[in-house]
Point group: D2
Chain length 325, copies 4
């Protein structure tokens, strides 16, 4: 299977953190699209529905299509404005919950108009920071009701929930592979699916390959994948492959094994790098890593995972990256 | 609600770790029961079906009853022998899977005979250490089939799955609150429930109070609670309350709020302490912590969690441990 | 000993993170000072030498003094501008190293003029993100030479190095209590000291009380303390005491025991809270926690730490927060 | 430089953990030596002075020599017996401190007689579990005095302190690279050095290559290296290279760059593996990883680390494991 790669629009630009408001200069939407177009190996773009993107709605389809890119998904912007700081779909304020649903419907319209059928929801501000701060049951109930309304708004579209253990909240509501599947089930809608961000899963001490398997086994809910790298304790959002090798190989193997035929969307934060170069690096790493799996001509991997033997697994991994048995 | 406390039999004895085979002397089953009886505030005992316990089956009921204790639960011993080292209910070896089920049925018989209706399953050896070592889907399938068979063996009993992120495996199969609920669902049996170990949940960066809420919300699956304390990165199994205060208060509050009416079973490893004294300490801490919640005469907590305001939560926590607003 | 409390100026205002550029409105320097003045229990303010502060240099002394506050310290701003993104005193670019030293000297002048003798250096951008990215020895050498130059610039002042394991870099150069003492030694200057941020130390799995002891034992290098709270895995910068109780008690005890007579400066990020209320909460917590230590009338703590007995330590901690033995 | 590999004697046997007292059968000292001899690529053995080893003192030299092995080091056994459970060189009991010193001198005699000049001290039981349990300053003082006495006992030998953040204690006294250098300094003896265990350093979120650099820069204290692999949050003691690739490459590069000419001693716990096969795997991984560094014919690495550029570092790492630029 030839895997297709996409990238979040802002990834090829500059970013900020809580200390430094500008690590580099600002880029317009069209400049960012130009920079993506110039990277060999990218066929798609994922958007976040920030004001500049919503304002460009009328011309976006043309600008993207002209550059031979596809719109893979659009994400709701329920995290960059003060209104969302205490939650969106699960806010204790009914007017905020309503505003979140209304915004998401607009984004679904935009997504649809751009030829994509995937809405991305990363509810970073939903959750809690302090103990004794939340009614966990009520908050989840509100969240699931809101998402169900979105699922019904355009039943032909997929509504994807992206989980992350923490940040910006110290505890996210949509947090781990298991609880997110339960919430997707809880909406009672089949078009509510799960988005796996490789780095988010790693941060939660998930074996990401196993998370792919779990998503397959319990309802076949995986609809999209974000990819980056980190040191396992925080969402460092680094260049794919720059930290780990074996984990990516097993992850890519399980994507194939479970029949995942969607995109891999690069999602990183190039604080100190040129964003375009950092994304290009990730593409090159992905190609290299995928090429290593092709060396498994005889299907040796299947034999190894069936035997549950550490030493054989170790030998296999060494062989996959070019070492002898 | 008056909460009842139990303890694992071996907790009042001595323990070992991977470096030191004996931090203290060995105790017989009856000596251990004597030591539990002598601790004010304990009404129950949880057993693990190690050989010495199975061998004492004929006399255990009398020995426990004589000391005015109840048998709260019996745990399968699927982790102390070499046969289980590559898994029990999920082993790639069909004869091991069969042996695990047979053993568990014997333990159910014992549990029943001791007047308890709760089987504890902590599958510490099921999971994986290395990447490319497991067929995650097949392994879970085998596990769920085995557990379903146990659920059907004595439908009036509860089969409890105790989750833990890792150790002794680097990655447990029954790992987090969400994935464990999914596995319980996956057995297709209503008498398959979940056991929450406070320290296991903490280690996985769960807010344990929230885990209690999730267990309530998604199928009302909480059947038993183990309690201890740790530094959040490992299952240190320390004296309850010796590390954290606020987390226990919120946890105990949510047990009440969700109507949990089961036991709290102390489960710690007193490497360097006298086991009896360490357990007594935990009982005193639990009583103290529960007494603090009784100060919430006016139901202030409900008001605070409904407002989702950090500063009010902070004030509440200070008040609960005796500080002024 | 009556401990004195200070706060970082910006703490009573609003903050941003890498997702949300504004969780609340902006405040002027004078507004922030007004908000600090209004909090009962604060006697000092710590500044960061951002442009608005440097621009106000001429009037700052009067504005601070009028409000009955002292300037406790001023921190170099070597992290908010693009120029520092690949390091300051350790940059591979000699002109950046020079600019950092020049800036720091200006800040020392300001600090001096405000009646403080403490320069705070938190070199957040010095370190590395990726492997194979740094010459660790050369970078440390440059850093120590720069700091030595500052120490010589005003020998009557103290130059404090604030350590932090990571963030914004995935690996800071000034990272842990031990390596920071070594770097202070390495400057060859006695007026190079160490600033301990409670949350930074916790994040590195340090027992913060032990870090205070280490700073005493190896050169008596502790010159300043920042205080906040977190969940131990990230610098969450939360309200003091909102997460942990026992750790603060032991920490405050060891500050006294080692004769620390400096300030405690509150340093938190109130993303979703009103900054003023959040700081006020921290002051109330600190007072409450310090009051608990005063209950140790008979000097029981000294007896307990001399015996190295877990159960006695547990009893002591319960007594300190109001529980019976 | 041709690196020489050794292994801890027990590594090729069986092990236990706190749940399972026997994952495999017991082996005699001679059987273990036979198993090491049979592994291609091992030239040395590291011993722990457990009773079976001390009892074999008279014949060990011959048994080791006959198998064409060298004794690389002998480690004190200050962790397997109950006497040490509350510390060895830092115990609050003077008779325990004395016993530890006496034992260590006997081990130095044995080491000497086996032709090695390196004593390994891993003080796993020194440290603390609970807060308010230790007088950190006094304990370190006692520890340093004991070690100084050992350094003086045989000044021509090296006394190596092996650090580890935690386990079996929740907090070790000899814990991180920085604090361990300070303690070595604190003994006032030049023959007190530091042993770096790769997995221990990783567990403490150290960049291990940077730790090698720090050990060089601050007193040139590195005297020995233990090697294994883990998931960064615990001392999993797994097969070398089975988890990480890039970290090992950078680590090996810095060993060369700082002129380390000692051994690499494999130190792992093969709970579920055949110990001999697991060690053989580590040797093969080490050879493979070292061979990758030899591809850096033009000294490209030096150029990359001098430039401090993430993208170039990423390209370099991909090239080192066989990918194109």
């Amino acid at each position: 299977m030839k895997r297709r790669y996409s990238v979040f629009l802002a990834n090829v630009g500059s970013c900020f953190d809580r200390y430094c408001p500008a690590y580099g200069r600002a880029y317009s939407v069209n400049e960012l699209l130009d920079r993506i177009e110039a990277i060999d190996g990218l066929d798609g773009v994922d958007l976040v529905a920030v004001p500049e993107v919503m304002d460009a709605a009328a011309t976006l389809q043309r600008e993207i299509g002209t550059r031979n890119l596809e719109t893979v998904s659009v994400a709701t912007d329920i995290f960059t404005k003060e209104i969302w700081k205490r939650g969106s779909f699960s806010s204790t304020d009914v007017s905020v919950r309503r505003a979140a649903v209304d915004h998401a419907k607009e984004v679904m319209d935009l997504t649809d108009s751009l030829g994509s059928d995937l809405l991305t929801i990363w509810p970073g501000q939903d959750g809690h920071d302090y103990l004794f701060q939340s009614d966990y049951i009520q908050a989840r109930q509100w969240f699931m009701e809101s998402v169900a309304e979105l699922c019904d708004y355009k039943p032909q579209m997929t509504v994807g929930l992206e989980y992350k253990l923490k940040e910006p909240r110290t505890h996210s509501m949509v947090s781990t592979v298991g609880t997110t599947i339960l919430m997707a089930q809880g909406t009672g809608r089949d078009n509510c699916k799960v988005i796996l961000d490789y780095g988010h899963a790693l941060m939660g001490y998930e074996n990401v390959a196993e998370s792919v398997a779990i998503l397959k086994q319990f309802g076949d809910r995986l609809c999209h994948v974000h990819i980056n790298d980190n040191y396992r304790l925080w969402d460092d959002d680094m260049i794919v492959g720059s930290i780990r090798t074996h984990e990516f190989l097993e992850f890519l193997f399980w994507l194939d094994r479970t029949g995942y035929d969607g995109w891999l969307t690069i999602d990183q934060f190039p604080y100190r790098e040129d964003g375009q170069q950092a994304v290009e690096e990730s593409v090159k790493w992905l190609r290299y890593l995928e090429s290593r799996l092709e060396t498994d001509a005889a299907g040796e991997i299947e034999g190894v995972i069936a035997r549950h033997d550490s030493v054989q697994s170790s030998r296999l991994m060494r062989a996959l990256i070019g070492g002898r048995r």
